[in-house]
Symmetry: C2
Amino acid sequence: MPKVVDHEARREELADAMWRVALRDGFPAVSVRTVAREAGWSPGALRHYFATSGEMIAFAVEWAVRQVRQRFDALDAARGGAVTPATPLEILEQLLPLDANRRVESEAWLTLVSNAHVGAQLREQRREVDGLIRYVVRTVIRQLDDLGRLAAHRDPEVETARLHALLDGLVVQGIADPPGVTPTGIRAVLHQHLDDLAHQADLTHQADRPTARGTEEQRNSPCRDVAQPSSHSQPLRTGTADGVDLAST
Amino acid sequence: MPKVVDHEARREELADAMWRVALRDGFPAVSVRTVAREAGWSPGALRHYFATSGEMIAFAVEWAVRQVRQRFDALDAARGGAVTPATPLEILEQLLPLDANRRVESEAWLTLVSNAHVGAQLREQRREVDGLIRYVVRTVIRQLDDLGRLAAHRDPEVETARLHALLDGLVVQGIADPPGVTPTGIRAVLHQHLDDLAHQADLTHQADRPTARGTEEQRNSPCRDVAQPSSHSQPLRTGTADGVDLAST
């Protein structure tokens, strides 16, 4: 009988080695050479799995997304699917560099963002990851509304775009060397932001402002959504059974 | 007499060629090869000015910073040094990808951020640029306070970190392909954010929150400032006469 190579197990082994390199030396240190050495493989054997550095980035980001989704699932299970006042913050914190693992995830994301022009695969993956984050942020805004923590006249599309940008910026600042914001600072900023959302915006200059609200306006919303995952459970085909299922919360 | 080569004029010529390539094809298309072709130089002649791609990135970012500073100077001159209710927004808009030129500046910034690990020069430049942006944002927060548009109990350090992160994120989203937020959306988000700053935050859970205020707490502020430019007028030695002088406003 032909020898059956368990490619999935080999990929898991590579992912473990990649993550060890990234946790120890930062994601920029991840390369065919360093991951092969960490795994005890030849660079040639590793190239069977990743022919290009772009494929390696894509693999790392897939792995990061899988980890985030597993944490979402665990959180969802822990609170039995219910939304509590703590839920929005708890969800957002999964996307930010608040510990060593999430720092590596954030570094992999930034590498994807800055390499998205390199080729069609990374460009599409960036679009998918952005769409997934936008979906999570939109869900959080909806949760805040359900919790009575979103002021009545706020535009959910503007607030979604604002919170999404804030998250991206906290990641950029949080993984800078030296960091522009510490984990404690990230939490302070998030608290402040969520508190503000509960309060009425100043409507004095409403006429000057290019906000949008309501069905008609939302079709022409200034805050364009890059991508809505076609399936909530499998937007990145990372192989988890359930995936992010915040829609049910 | 030896021939005197005007290196500064040659660098201006290169910067013009670089910017034309970036405006036409995006900053990722900027390389020794494409800029040399655009300028009508040999790649060898161009390498006299930029030995590495890192030096080219550093040059592009210096150029971008110089452009931003010139716009700050022009705005400051136009309003005769006075701060009006329109000033904070006007300043922030100079840092965002709201037109073709600012888009290239934003792309150069992201390239710097994602290459800051490559060597000491880019790492230091990233620190300086972040420090400059932080300084501008802190100035805007102070202006809002002077204008009576910053609620009394807000922590200026938390708000500075939050607004800085929001700007970074709007840049990342604004230059994505396709963009995650349009120029109209960027303006809507900024309006909303500045409006919110005028309003009292919810103080219900103040005790739970890792915010800081007052002299003692500010020394241990969670929102760490990466760098304070040693000189307001010349933080990046870009050769402009006056530079950003927002402190006088």
